[in-house]
């Protein structure tokens, strides 16, 4: 293989060619923004999001954005919000923070979106939060339970949405304290803010009951050392802060060694359709969710199996019409519920909303209830999102919620019951009563 002596002419030609590629192909500088916000016209509003559509993090999460888009299609078919149709552009970042930065900057600078909606992931989204706030782009309803989005002082444009992992851990711990006092607890958790947050919440409530806490790295294929360690510590209760794949893997190991603790699973990893799908081949004819039957879980949205709930009925209708290829599971419910929250905010922001109007609408607490069974915490000082969860149990392969929704904060605040009944879809006047 000969390597040519570097000839100056060729190198320079290369650079100029590159420059030409840029100037010609990509230079549409359309630029000047009008006096109102970019991305919004009299008839449409454009929003953008980043999400993993491919790669190891995609399973499950890749359903969320299409489901949200389906909800927007439904709202658009009814005339949109104040006459504006919602155009949702979501781009694949493969859960790679470098790609997230590039994709978000593209959405803001090139697509000139009105707001960023439902950006997914903590390691990914933390990298664009500063940029969005400096550029004064509303950063709505981050798809992650990290309490870091709740920082109105330094990030006034960023709003969380789902119940934070710490709150989940606290309420689970509180339930265990009240109903399984004295029992030994083992924790199997993902070694990032999700699992660590859940563990922090648990430790807030039941520090003395936890006898083993074993993490796994996302990407690990071997979780037997962790599960057997928890078994060796004689934990009667196993709390899983896991994504569905690892809930399933953990259960396979438990089955292998005959370990049958009382199971508690975070809502993130408890969707029976998803977990059952992964365990299908191991139960030889029995219900595929046999290994998680009877497990406790919690949620801030109505159970996706509860077809008598008007929200679930509405979501199912939209799913069947606009997103039929996807399974109707917790991820689809998540996307549609988040989309509703955006629609509610857009409506609350007035007939000619600017970006600031969106932020103000949330700060003033106008967006207070929605598909959740607990309220939002949105206020001038609180950008956290849903305030709590309700306990549930997996019965006959479906999640059935029981008891009362409980609300609290991610810190050391008290846990109280929330007694107001859930609204129906049309009650808030955001969308027509279906």
């Amino acid at each position: 293989m000969t390597i040519s002596m570097r000839r100056p002419g060729l190198g320079l030609a290369g650079c100029l060619a590159a420059a030409a590629v840029f100037a010609a192909g990509c230079g549409n500088n359309g630029g000047s923004s009008s006096s109102s916000s970019p991305g919004i016209t009299k008839t449409s509003v454009k929003i953008g999001g980043h999400t993993p559509l491919t790669g190891p993090a995609a399973p499950g999460y890749s359903e969320i954005a299409p489901a949200a888009k389906a909800f927007f299609a439904y709202v658009n078919a009814q005339g949109g919000v104040n006459g504006r149709k919602i155009n949702y552009i979501y781009r694949d970042d493969g859960y790679n923070p470098t790609k997230t930065v590039s994709v978000v900057r593209q959405l803001v600078l090139q697509d000139k979106v009105f707001a960023i909606f439902n950006g997914l992931g903590t390691p990914t989204h933390t990298k664009v939060v500063d940029y969005l706030n400096t550029s004064k782009v509303p950063d709505l309803f981050v798809a992650s339970g990290c309490p870091c989005w709740d920082d109105a002082a330094s990030h006034p444009y960023t709003f969380g949405w789902q119940t934070s992992y710490q709150i989940e851990g606290k309420i689970l711990g509180d339930y265990i304290k009240k109903n399984f006092a004295g029992k030994k607890v083992g924790v199997f958790y993902q070694d990032d803010d999700f699992g660590q947050g859940g563990l922090t919440g648990l430790k807030e409530e039941i520090p003395s009951q936890i006898v083993a806490a074993k993490p796994y790295q996302p990407g690990d294929t071997n979780v037997a050392p962790q599960i057997t360690a928890i078994q060796k510590a004689h934990a009667d209760i196993l709390v899983d802060f896991t994504i569905p794949a690892y809930t399933a893997l953990g259960q396979l190991v438990s089955f292998k060694v005959g370990y049958k603790p009382t199971l508690f699973i975070s809502n993130v990893g408890a969707d029976p359709t998803t977990v059952g799908g992964l365990l299908k081949s191991f139960s030889k004819g029995k219900a595929s969710t046999a290994l998680i039957e009877g497990a406790y879980t919690e949620g801030y949205l109505p159970s996706v199996n509860d077809t008598s709930n008007p929200w679930i009925a509405l979501f199912k209708k939209i799913h069947d019409q606009y997103d039929a290829k996807a399974p109707f599971d917790g991820n689809v419910e998540y996307g549609m519920a988040a989309a509703y929250t955006f629609v509610a905010t857009l409506k609350a922001a007035g007939t000619n909303p600017t970006r600031q109007d969106m932020v103000d609408a949330l700060n003033s607490g106008k967006v207070a209830v929605g598909p959740g069974i607990v309220p939002y915490r949105y206020s001038k000082t609180d950008h956290g999102g849903y305030a709590g969860v309700q306990m549930g149990k997996i019965t006959n392969g479906q999640i059935k919620l029981f008891g009362q929704p409980m609300v609290t904060d991610p810190g050391s605040g008290a846990i109280t019951a929330y007694t107001k009944p859930q609204q129906s879809p049309g009650d808030a006047g955001v969308i027509k009563q279906p």
Binding site: P8, A23, S62, P97, V101, T124, D130, Y131, Q217
Partner: protein
């Protein structure tokens, strides 16, 4: 007469060339949109890393699957020094280069004993293993979330409307130009010739008196320094250092870049950098222009990328620069052919 003799000296020629390229880049950067400045910055930091890697693999014949992890070292160094300890940008980038070069020297000593697929395997293990440190020492390295760097503010003299992206492009291009200058000189120097000799025939080189191991290690150090500088620039441009940004996929992309662009040549590194940045967005655009089912649409860019990789290797194994060179040879008059062959 004196001017001609001056131009004969490699260093002077390369300095002039670098300056010329710098001027071109300045004008380009001023003319394009902020988002395209971001792309320019990305091309620049990829070029820095690719240039080093192409010297290692093309000039010296060692295959490394671990340069993504070396970029991570540079990025984290800058992130810690600038973000946590408040260092200024330039000293931090210098530190990133030095630290990564040091790690490169260790890697080089290990690599000097290995050949071919065994070297590939060792560097692969390095690429996969090193990011694990971030999880092992979350306090130092921020765990899965990584570290954030405050954006580099353009100096006040440029005006308040100066886009951040343009300033980032300038920083990244500056590092790329430094790498370009250094490597251009290296290629024509005694060290460069030693590297080529070792690549072509190790036994003959040793018989000729070259210290093979030392040459291998030097090549590793140089390429690691470039990877570190590129990684530092990446950290500045994207304002982050996180394990998810430095997976094995990055190392493999770098390898892809140098082969696509043309192994062993600096213009090849530039083509590779352009390909790495523009190919995904072009294939994204193509995919979005059809309205397909979600599964097909989200995977189409990857499928296109795979097809392009295979196609280029089969049809143009010497990469884009090889094709350009062939074209140039065909267009140029015969008399200058002999000069071209002397490599």
């Amino acid at each position: 007469m004196r001017l001609a003799r001056l131009l004969d000296r490699t260093l002077v020629r390369n300095l002039l060339l670098t300056a010329a390229i710098a001027v071109v880049l300045l004008f380009v950067s001023l003319a394009i949109t902020p988002f395209n400045n971001l792309r320019l910055a990305s091309i620049a930091y990829y070029f820095t890393a690719l240039a080093g890697l192409t010297v290692l693999t093309g000039l010296n014949g060692q295959i490394s699957l671990g340069h993504g992890a070396l970029m991570a070292v540079g990025a984290y160094t800058v992130a810690i020094l600038v973000g946590r300890d408040g260092w200024a940008l330039v000293p931090a980038l210098v530190a990133a280069t030095v630290v990564t070069a040091a790690i490169g020297s260790v890697l080089g000593v290990v690599a000097a004993r290995l050949r071919g697929p065994y070297l590939a395997g060792a560097t692969l293990a390095f690429a996969v293993g090193l990011p694990g440190l971030a999880d092992r020492y979350p306090h130092a390295f921020g765990g899965e979330n990584g570290l954030i760097i405050p954006p580099p503010q353009p100096p006040a003299g440029l005006g308040s409307a100066f886009p951040l992206e343009r300033w980032e492009a300038w920083i990244a291009c500056a590092t790329a130009l430094i790498a370009f200058l250094a490597l251009s000189n290296l290629q024509r120097s005694r060290v460069g010739r030693a590297m080529r000799a070792v690549r072509d025939d190790e036994v003959a080189a040793q018989l000729a008196g070259l210290d093979v191991a030392r040459t291998q290690v030097t090549a590793f150090i140089v390429s690691a320094a470039c990877a570190g500088l590129g990684g530092g620039a990446l950290a500045v441009v994207t304002q982050l250092a996180a394990p998810g940004a430095f997976t094995l996929v990055l190392s493999l992309s770098l390898l892809t870049g140098i082969v696509l662009g043309g192994l062993g040549s600096l213009p090849g590194a530039l083509w590779g950098a352009i390909a790495l940045v523009m190919l995904p967005s072009w294939s994204d655009d193509i995919a979005n222009s059809f309205s397909l089912s979600t599964d097909v649409q989200s995977n189409l860019p990857l499928a296109l990328y795979g097809v392009v990789l295979m196609g280029v290797i089969v049809a143009a194994p010497e990469g884009i620069q090889g094709a350009v060179r062939r074209l140039g040879r065909r267009l140029r008059p015969r008399s200058s052919m002999s000069h071209e062959e002397a490599a």
